[in-house]
């Protein structure tokens, strides 16, 4: 074939040798795509025969026999599947021959390089993502160009079109990114794992959780909404109208629901990536993937940041960009109907993002809580149990503080609010380091020790509604835990490093107490539906001044720092009475904290903090959020109304889909198959179109339970049912 020792011979020999060396082939675990195997087998056997032809001095029988099998396998089989089978079997045989040879990591990396260069030559192994194959034509660089409309002269319309085009173009880009992940990362890793036992420690499900779901969500948005709008504009030779793709964004929550899982797991996947970066073979692979993914993008976009870390962030980041893009389109839109549609689109996108945000927050909160709960040690209980002996300890071991259990008063999960290192003065007047932890319903005083930063409880956990905070000086606080009978249970004197921190803590404790207090009252109200708590609630909303207590305290000017004097010891009785007074006043919901008599003076004039503050779960119950819920509801009704209008306009429910020529063809075929059924359906849909305005009103009405009808909603309802005119947004 070639004269031995010629350049081309050497090159060929080298390549063939690299490919067929059996140590680099191993047992496949899963079946491969037949097409690809055929190509690979083809290359392999071609090389092999040229090696045989050129190098008659092939020494190792075992090697050549397995290679012969390889070549034989290709020739004797007819169908593609058989070829794939044979290829795998031969690879397996070759692997078994060499299995005794221990592979070093360097060998593995060489092997990886060979496989990857093989991927470069024969094309990528096929992924089994049908959607991706379906839209890959759209993703080819230059497949879609910005529609140029010469009829547009007004600057605003030109900018509107440019903004819409930006939305579409960036959507294509995100699809390309996802394609890169699916095609280059996941598929090749799977291939390497199955056919070469390489990168076996890489778990693609952990690294790219639910990427397929994210991809299909974006696909739906593109193929059902954005692309048809572009096509419609192209056929009508007019501008792209926002209302043509409105449905995709109004149903945003529905479409992107599956993508949420990815977004919530992104932190873990990035942590996993950080672990994997220690693996050299994986780094080699990532380098290769980064290089070969460039071809997925437009050549002029070579400045694209294709690091894996960025790729992982993109789908998540994309979701928050839609709002911006739609706002931009709206800024340049003049048509009333389009503006209205955009308003709804922006509303539903931001609703989704807010939901994602709060889900994410919940998850972060839960993880933080778990971190603390895992490190928490109930030191006192341990000592007590030891003292009582084993029998007792087995009985009592179930009584431990479980931070992760739901809060007893409302069953909601607990959240950590604050954490700080403080100096704590103990009963004997000695100072120790401690860590203070504030949760939504309790406070812990702990000590940190050991490498694992274990937290040992120094004091019994304090219920926030039984806690009284007093300020000593600018950086010190006295925390008084009370019993059910309003007597003193425990007294903790803490000093914070800075005044700012101290202010912060005081503020946060007050807020948390107020939130808890209002939750407790709501709970009491909903459980017993007793008139008394209702009165309590209304009282707390418009707090009357409490002259009695403040006056009492005012009358004791000599006890300027009642608690400070007490801490010096000696006047124990004074301490008890003053503290108790402060405490009783506070527990009655009248005084929240006081650090000097001058502040107590101020209480008279100062309104109490509004009880229903933070606590997301609690906000849903408070009066303020009722309003919010109503506007959400209104949004839903408007959405419903808009969608039904949209349907009426195009008569058939699948009107948006049917605009695509391909789909039209498919539908025609279907119609030929089942002409009768289809005709019947069509007549039905014509009837429906006539009544859809009425049905939409009915649907909207069904959404609103009768007892919840407020005047505002009634007005909205009448808007909807009358003549299909748009209600004011």
């Amino acid at each position: 074939m070639f004269p031995p020792n010629s350049d081309s011979w050497r090159r060929l020999h080298h390549r063939a040798d690299r490919f067929v060396r059996p140590s680099r082939v191993s047992v496949p675990v899963r079946s491969l795509d037949p097409d690809w195997c055929e190509a690979a087998a083809g290359t392999a056997s071609q090389r092999f025969s040229s090696v045989l032809a050129a190098d008659s001095g092939w020494q190792q029988q075992g090697r050549s026999s397995s290679l012969e099998n390889l070549a034989f396998g290709r020739d004797s089989r007819g169908s593609k599947e058989d070829k794939a089978d044979a290829f795998l079997r031969n690879l397996r045989a070759a692997h078994l021959f060499q299995s005794s040879q221990a592979a070093t990591s360097q060998d593995n990396r060489d092997k990886l390089h060979d496989y990857l260069s093989q991927c470069d030559e024969c094309g990528l192994p096929r992924h089994n993502n049908e959607l991706l194959s379906e839209i890959s034509a759209d993703l080819a660089p230059g497949a879609w160009a910005q529609p140029s409309d010469r009829t547009l002269t007004a600057g605003k319309a030109v900018r509107q079109q440019a903004a819409i085009w930006e939305l579409c173009q960036t959507e294509l880009n995100i699809l390309r990114h996802l394609k890169t992940i699916i095609e280059i990362y996941i598929a090749v890793i799977h291939y390497l794992q199955s056919s070469a036992s390489l990168l076996l420690d890489v778990d693609t499900d952990r690294l790219f959780p639910d990427v397929a779901a994210v991809f299909s969500s974006h696909c739906v948005l593109w193929t059902r909404h954005l692309r048809p709008a572009l096509e419609l504009a192209a056929t009508s030779e007019g501008p792209v109208r926002p209302r043509d793709f409105a449905e995709g964004f109004i149903r945003f929550g529905e479409i992107f629901e599956p993508a949420l899982a990815f977004c919530l797991r992104i932190t873990e996947s990035k942590d996993y990536l950080r672990q994997l970066e220690k693996n050299e073979a994986f780094n080699d692979f990532v380098k290769w993937a980064q290089k070969s993914s460039a071809k997925n993008y437009n050549s002029n976009d070579c400045s694209m940041d294709l690091q894996l870390k960025s790729l992982l962030t993109m789908p998540f980041q994309r979701l928050t960009k839609y709002g911006l893009l739609l706002q931009e389109i709206q800024r340049h839109t003049e048509d009333g109907e389009d503006r209205e549609a955009l308003e709804l689109m922006i509303g539903s996108v931001s609703k989704f993002c807010n939901k994602m945000n709060s889900l994410y927050q919940d998850k972060a909160d839960e993880e933080e809580l778990r971190g603390i709960a895992d490190r928490l040690e109930d030191a006192k209980t341990n000592e007590q149990l030891d003292a009582l002996g084993e029998e007792c300890s087995s009985q009592l071991s179930k009584f431990r503080l479980n931070l992760r259990s739901a809060m007893p008063h409302n069953g909601q999960p607990r959240r950590k609010l604050m954490e700080a290192d403080v100096r704590l003065k103990d009963e004997r007047g000695k100072w120790t380091d401690a860590r203070l932890l504030l949760f939504t319903d309790l406070m812990l005083v702990t000590k940190v020790y050991g490498k694992r930063q274990l937290l040992r409880l120094l004091r019994t956990p304090v219920r926030l509604d039984k806690l009284e905070v007093c300020r000593l000086d600018c950086t010190s606080l006295v925390l008084a835990a009370l019993t059910d009978f309003k007597s003193l249970d425990g007294l903790h004197c803490v000093t914070l490093p800075e005044q700012r921190l101290c202010d912060d803590w005081l503020e946060r404790i007050r807020q948390a107490q107020a939130a808890l207090q209002s939750q407790l009252s709501l709970e009491a109200y909903s459980v017993a539906s007793h008139p008394k708590p209702v009165r309590w609630l209304s009282e707390s909303q418009s707090p009357p001044p409490q002259p009695r207590h403040s006056q009492q305290l005012q009358q004791r000017p000599q006890q300027h720092h009642p608690i400070a004097t007490s801490s010096s010891g000696g006047s124990g009785r004074v301490r008890a009475t003053t503290l108790l007074e402060v405490a009783t006043a506070a527990s009655a919901g009248k005084i929240h904290a006081a650090h000097s008599s001058s502040e107590l003076d101020a209480i008279e004039r100062e309104p109490l903090p509004q009880p229903p503050s933070p606590g997301r779960e609690q906000q849903q119950l408070s009066g303020k959020s009722q309003q919010f819920r109503m506007s959400e509801h209104r949004h839903t009704v408007l959405q419903q109304w808009y969608l039904s209008q949209h349907h009426r306009e195009h008569s058939a429910p699948s009107s948006v889909l049917s605009r695509s020529p391909l789909r039209q063809k498919k539908q025609q075929q279907k119609q030929q198959k089942q002409p009768r059924e289809q005709q019947q359906q069509r007549s039905n849909s014509a009837e429906e179109a006539g009544t859809s305005s009425a049905t939409s009103a009915a649907a909207a009405a069904a959404l609103i339970p009768a007892r919840e009808l407020t005047p505002e909603r009634r007005r909205l309802m009448s808007y909807i049912s009358s003549s299909g005119q748009a209600p004011e947004v």
Binding site: A163, E166, D305, L324, M356, N357, A420, P497
Partner: protein, 197 residues
């Protein structure tokens, strides 16, 4: 700026943060595209990298623009974790945005678990002199306060519209990062475990 050089340089991840509407995207787009958009300003830049020579040394900048994420606070840390250097943008015409700068910087320290980190504070939109409500001295003061313990923090005034200091702000940030790395910034004592929300 040959391609082979740019490939061999390890990219620097810069994260641009700031409250909504202060011109984060405008700054990054101006820097990356180095051109004006006459009829239309793009709203977002997906993600991009740019190579340039800074002090005769090649640098590849991967810039992550966080526009649109301002209100989704729980997701903010995701971006911050990626960053090796931060550009905190505020608008000199917007008091609220300026007030947020301090808390954003605090958040960077917390997420990065460092007391010092390369941070560039940019006062944008200085072309709108008439609407200006944040004085240069006010911003300088804020940055000086941070410089007491974070020497890798600096302030600069920019205008994405007139392209004033747009390159400089990114270049200076890379200089800060180099300084930080040279001083063994990554090995610096970790921030004490005390963390406050």
């Amino acid at each position: 700026m040959s391609k082979s050089v740019s490939k061999s340089v390890k990219p620097i991840k810069i994260v641009v943060i700031g409250s909504g509407g202060v011109g984060k995207s405008a700054l990054t787009l101006q820097f990356s595209k180095s051109k004006f958009f006459l009829d239309y300003d793009p709203t977002i830049e997906d993600s991009f990298s740019k190579s340039c020579y800074i002090d005769n040394e090649m640098a590849r900048l991967d810039i992550l623009d966080t526009a649109g994420q301002e209100e989704f606070t729980s997701m903010r840390e995701q971006y911050m974790r990626l960053g090796q250097a931060f550009l905190v943008v505020f608008s000199v015409t917007d008091r609220k945005g300026f007030e947020e700068v301090d808390s954003l910087i605090q958040l960077i320290y917390r997420v990065k678990d460092r007391e010092a980190f390369p941070i560039m504070v940019a006062g944008n939109k200085i072309d709108l002199q008439n609407d200006r409500c944040i004085d240069q001295s006010l911003a300088q003061e804020l940055v000086q306060r941070h410089q007491e313990f974070n020497p890798y923090c600096a302030y600069i005034e920019t205008s994405a519209k007139t392209r004033l200091n747009v390159d400089l702000v990114f270049h200076d940030l890379v200089r800060l990062l180099r300084l930080y790395n040279a001083k063994g910034g990554s090995k610096q004592a970790k921030k004490s475990k005390c963390s406050l929300l």
